[in-house]
């Protein structure tokens, strides 16, 4: 059949293109030997891409909104946990712990006790060098 006759021609074509592409890829890799390492290394550094203030605000608000006792419509960047959101001191501990988990932080007790509103939480996370 015609297909059988075409087969060797097609195969030769594929083999040809494969041998021409490989040296090109090798040359590209040789020209930028650290491109892969840079790409892999970037997410592991906390300083290379430090969190922006807007990102911190957004993620803290998301944590608050997903807390079961918080009315999402009341969450604003200026809200106070107890006065505006109606949380008690136990809820506040849970919320601060959730923020810790979100940003992979460990907030010492002394600091965590002082965080009783969204502005304080945002300020703490934004100023923390290890927040990720």
């Amino acid at each position: 059949m015609a297909a059988a006759a075409l087969r060797p021609a097609i195969l030769r074509h594929i083999r040809l293109s494969a041998t021409t592409v490989t040296p090109l890829a090798a040359a590209a890799a040789a020209a930028q030997p650290h491109a892969l390492a840079r790409w892999l290394g970037r997410p592991m550094s906390s300083h290379a891409d430090h969190l922006t203030h807007d990102e911190v605000v957004g993620r803290v608000l998301d944590v608050l909104k997903s807390h079961p006792k918080v009315d999402p419509s009341k969450v604003t960047p200026e809200a106070h946990f107890e006065k505006d959101l109606g949380l008690d001191s136990l809820d506040t501990v849970e919320v601060v712990m959730a923020i810790e988990e979100e940003f992979k932080l460990e907030i010492p007790d002394m600091e965590a006790d002082k965080i009783d509103s969204l502005p304080l939480a945002i300020e703490y996370v934004a100023n923390h060098p290890m927040a990720g």
Binding site: L90, V93, D109
Partner: protein, 91 residues
């Protein structure tokens, strides 16, 4: 035992330490149970008015914290090989 009632910051510190310890369990179900149980117990006892009852609840909480710490260690030695299906969905 007529112990003085624990201060508010002591109680919150114990609560926070319990939640931190709960977080270390490798098993999803145990981790979530410990967290829920701690939160429920503190809510249940929040209105304890007289000092001896509050002190007793506080002492019980500290004992539970020791149990949780020990079990984190024990369970870490026998951690499940597969993750819970709930955790797989979250990833």
């Amino acid at each position: 035992m007529a112990a003085a009632a624990p201060s508010k910051s002591e109680v919150l510190s114990l609560f926070r330490t319990l939640l931190r310890t709960a977080r270390q369990f490798s098993d999803y179900n145990i981790r979530e149970y410990t967290r829920r149980r701690a939160a429920d117990a503190f809510r249940e006892n929040r209105a304890l008015a007289d000092a001896p009852a509050a002190a007793a609840a506080f002492a019980d909480g500290k004992q539970q914290l020791e149990v949780a710490k020990r079990q984190v260690l024990v369970y870490s030695l026998y951690a499940p090989k597969a993750k819970s299906v709930v955790e797989m969905k979250m990833q």
